[in-house]
């Protein structure tokens, strides 16, 4: 079907640079591999990754790296300073190993963080994509969104948990409700831009349905800002969860969380400052690690910021 005169008419010159470029391109890879390589060259991202890995490993292997029960009381061993009597991080006012409590607290923080991020990824994308793509839904969805966002995040979370009662599940629910509108806004903004792209128009011209356009063309290209947002969201969720349980609105004691360990430690700030300090440091490491991670992801994934550099 490729007529010989066709080859003759077309100048060969244009194909030559193609060959040349492909020689260079042989070393190149799929976009995601290039992204990963760029991430691993980003120094702050690596630092964030290290900090997060510490907490992640502690949380995942909590059962393996602790021998003490984080919950059982042992009044004989109260207020041991870090290092004394074999307690790495010391003990609290009930003689419980702080090491065990902080490590299990990490597990809970990560569990809550991941749950909130997952719920946000699902529902934030759903709401944001619906509002951005189907313009008729936009006004209705976004006005509700705006109403939710009018409340300060932590205040709304406190109100929701106060109504529902203190529990791990309710904390996850409250934090998700608070943050989903924020995630939805980010997704909506990118979807509005992407739906006007010419490759989307081309798919429409070919007869593609809404579902195909969203799944193949819009959502994959909307992922970058969403991933960045979710990495920051993880940090907010961990921090807010600590705040809630500090106020007695998160997981119910004696379940250890960083927030309620600190709340208890607050009363012994002078006699046993390590009780409040150690979970505080753990919280700081997590939030800082996630923020650095998020910064790195933003630098690499978000092209608008890449241009500025």
């Amino acid at each position: 079907m490729n007529g010989p005169e066709l080859v003759a008419v077309r100048p060969a010159a244009d194909d030559a640079p193609l060959e040349e470029e492909f020689e260079v391109a042989a070393k190149r890879q799929a976009p995601w591999r290039m992204t990963v390589r760029r991430l691993f060259r980003h120094r702050l991202f690596l630092m964030g990754l290290c900090l997060c890995s510490i907490i992640l490993l502690a949380g995942v292997f909590a059962q393996l790296i602790t021998t003490a029960d984080p919950v059982r009381l042992a009044m004989r061993w109260r207020f041991r300073a870090p290092g004394v009597d074999g307690f790495v991080f010391g003990t609290d006012n009930f003689g419980r190993s702080l090491w065990a409590r902080v490590v299990f607290g990490a597990q809970l923080s990560l569990y809550i963080g991941f749950s909130v991020v997952l719920l946000n990824a699902v529902f934030g994308t759903l709401i944001g994509a619906a509002a951005g793509y189907f313009r008729k839904l936009d006004n209705a969805l976004m006005r509700v969104n705006d109403a939710m966002m009018a409340f300060p995040a932590i205040l709304l979370a406190i109100a929701i948990t106060a109504v529902l009662g203190a529990s791990t599940f309710n904390a996850i629910l409250a934090l998700s409700i608070v943050y989903i509108p924020r995630t939805a806004r980010i997704v909506r903004a990118s979807v509005i831009v992407l739906r006007e792209m010419e490759y989307v128009q081309a798919a429409v011209a070919a007869g593609a349905g809404h579902w195909r356009i969203l799944r193949r063309h819009i959502l994959p290209n909307a992922m970058a800002p969403l991933i960045v947002q979710l990495s920051f969201l993880f940090a907010y969720a961990v921090l807010s969860e600590a705040t809630l349980s500090f106020l007695g609105l998160g997981a119910v004691p004696p379940t250890p969380t960083w927030g309620n360990i600190m709340a208890e430690g607050r009363q012994y700030l002078v006699e046993a400052p390590w009780i409040i300090t150690i979970p505080g440091i753990a919280l700081m490491i997590t939030v800082m690690g996630l923020n650095l991670l998020g910064d790195g992801l933003r630098d690499v994934l978000d092209p608008r910021l890449r241009i500025q550099q």
Partner: protein, 328 residues
């Protein structure tokens, strides 16, 4: 010659809302205003005009990427305005579009093979060896090596991307292709290659083109007939030779007079019409003839009544009061 696509009274008005609490709809922006034309099977209709005159909007209306506010489009004798997505699908196969921006037209996360194959999949093909073979043949046809198939768009130059875009548009074997400024974003040397490719493909596959451009020399090269648009209206349409040799409408005369001439001996010969000023806003178009604010031959009647598109010679339509005035 029978028309493949004909449209009449075609308009696209964009509602422009005022800001503020109540969002009243103000005067609509008339991007395309009551345009009627037909394109014959196998020909290339060039569509030229300044930026913002509604050329692209008209192109998108024809393949129903946008819904017209008014008017009807008949494709191959069948009315296609008002068809729903399902009824439109078989027609979608027959009409495709090539875009201006070779960077925005390809999904950066899909490999060339997936990009070119997608229209096939939409129309029920399976991603099997057959489809892969079709994609390979199409890539060859547009002048890309078959191993381009597992590359991503960012690995190509502008001209090569445009070839991928053409391959995607042609894989369904359409009969009508809207070329929406397909070469405006390319280097001049690459422009010639793409234009030649489009012409080769036209003869090979029997395509009908609507070729939108603002570069008159490119349009002259590729078109059989040329339509000139000004502010949402077609002001002149004629055979290529007729329109370049003896443009009738003052706006067309000015456009053609503005083309730089290479030969200094010929340069400055003939009457050169100049117009000044900017194209008026489509939000608030001038009364009567849209061009009267800039026309060097403006008469009182021009401000009052809109001149209809009349045939001054067979196949040569002009919308200007000068035509009727000189005859009268």
């Amino acid at each position: 010659m029978n028309p493949l696509i004909e449209f009449s009274g075609l308009s696209k008005h964009f509602p422009v809302r005022s800001g503020g609490l109540f969002r009243r709809t103000v005067t609509p922006l008339r991007a395309v205003d009551d345009v009627s034309l037909s394109i014959n099977s196998g020909e290339t209709l060039g569509l030229v005009g300044e930026s913002g005159c509604g050329k692209s909007t008209l192109g998108r209306l024809l393949i129903r990427l946008m819904e017209p506010t008014e008017g009807s489009i008949r494709f191959d004798g069948q009315e296609i305005t008002g068809l729903n997505a399902k009824a439109m699908r078989p027609h979608r196969k027959a009409m495709q579009i090539v875009f201006q921006d070779p960077y925005g037209a390809l999904n950066p996360r899909m490999m060339v093979e997936d990009i070119v194959m997608e229209p096939l999949l939409i129309h029920g093909a399976k991603p099997d060896a057959d489809s892969r073979r079709l994609v390979g043949e199409m890539l060859k046809l547009v002048g890309l090596p078959t191993r381009a198939r597992d590359r991503f768009p960012h690995e190509f130059s502008g001209g090569q991307r445009q070839r991928v875009g053409i391959a995607r548009a042609l894989i369904l074997r359409p009969r009508f292709v809207v070329c929406d400024e397909p070469v405006s974003a390319l280097d001049v040397s690459v422009q010639a290659q793409i234009v030649n490719l489009l012409q080769d493909l036209q003869t090979e596959l029997g395509l009908t083109y609507l070729f939108i451009a603002h570069d008159l020399s490119v349009v002259k090269h590729i078109s059989d007939r040329v339509a000139v648009m000004y502010l949402g209206k077609v002001v002149e349409v004629a055979d290529k030779r007729a329109i370049y040799a003896s443009p009738q409408h003052p706006y067309t005369q000015a456009l053609i007079g503005a083309v730089p001439v290479l030969n200094p001996r010929v340069r400055g010969r003939g009457k050169r019409q100049r117009i000044s000023g900017d194209i008026p806003s489509a939000l608030n178009p001038p009364s009567g003839c849209r061009f009267h604010t800039r026309c060097p031959h403006v008469m009182p009647i021009c401000k009052e009544t809109l001149p209809p598109l009349l045939e001054t010679a067979p196949g040569h339509g002009v919308a200007c009061h000068l035509m009727t005035q000189t005859r009268a």
